[in-house]
């Protein structure tokens, strides 16, 4: 049996920082490999930054639920927010070709997350976004 951790943060960066610190503690307790921890941190930072920066049409505080299920280095990260509907899998591809002065980083966060994750799925229900990210660096095929 694995462990399951649940967090609720508000849509601001100080709370995201605290969440990241807690995740790093969990990583220590569970002996995550460096690579798994790196990928997990990318997914959390990118997806939550997106939600905090662009997810809401008002300036009110909102709850974002983050759940982490850990079982033998297979991990499922679930992020639930009540912002407007946004499926990261539909995002535009980032600019990878422009020269230095013209290079923009829009879309890079989502692209990085998709590359690091083994599987991403998105669902909109009850006026909420449900994003599930599977990280399974040691499982060959799922």
């Amino acid at each position: 049996m694995g462990n399951c951790y649940t967090f609720t943060i508000k849509n601001n960066f100080p709370e995201l920082e605290i969440l990241c610190a807690e995740i790093n503690e969990i990583a220590k307790e569970n002996n995550f490999s460096e690579q798994l921890l790196f990928s997990l941190n990318v997914c959390i930072e990118e997806m939550l930054t997106n939600i905090i920066k662009y997810g809401y049409d008002d300036k009110d505080p909102h709850d974002i639920e983050v759940q982490l299920e850990v079982d033998n280095e297979v991990m499922i990260l679930t992020i639930v927010d009540d912002g407007h509907a946004f499926n990261p899998l539909d995002a535009d591809a980032p600019d990878m070709e422009s020269d230095l002065q013209h290079r923009q980083l829009g879309g890079i966060g989502i692209f990085l997350t998709c590359k690091m994750a083994d599987k991403l799925s998105y669902e909109r229900k009850d006026n909420k976004n449900f994003l599930k990210i599977l990280l399974a660096p040691h499982v060959a095929a799922l």
Binding site: E17, V42, T49, D95, M96, E97, L100
Partner: protein, 114 residues
């Protein structure tokens, strides 16, 4: 996150970054990094102690590189740990940001014609 200025010359500023370039880490260094990584000079950053980077950290590097470039300088990273380098490559940043193997390699890169 820590930013240290190492022995530098008129033309080359040597910096050492260490820690995690995450949401919290960037806040610690972004002001100083923007101030030191500017002007008509080569800024060489030892990345050996950087354990994490994602798009927020990349944004900091890219904006410094653009500013340096427009002022006649350039930004060169070296000794980048494998996971960090993979992330930079995945994001396509190594095409616009030179990454050298080590400090001497960074110096030879800085002497190449642009």
């Amino acid at each position: 996150m820590k930013l240290t200025q190492l022995e530098s010359t008129d033309k080359i500023t040597n910096l050492l970054l260490s820690g995690s370039l995450d949401v919290a880490g960037i806040k610690d260094v972004e002001m100083d990094f923007a101030r030191l990584a500017s002007g008509n000079r080569t800024v060489v950053v030892d990345f050996s102690g950087v354990i994490f980077i994602a798009s927020l950290g990349m944004r900091m590097l890219l904006s410094a590189a653009k500013k340096l470039d427009s002022e006649g300088g350039r930004l060169i990273l070296h000794s980048v740990p494998p996971l960090v380098e993979t992330a930079l490559e995945t994001a396509g940043l190594t095409k616009v940001l030179p990454v050298a193997k080590d400090a001497p390699d960074a110096i030879s890169l800085s002497q190449l014609q642009r």
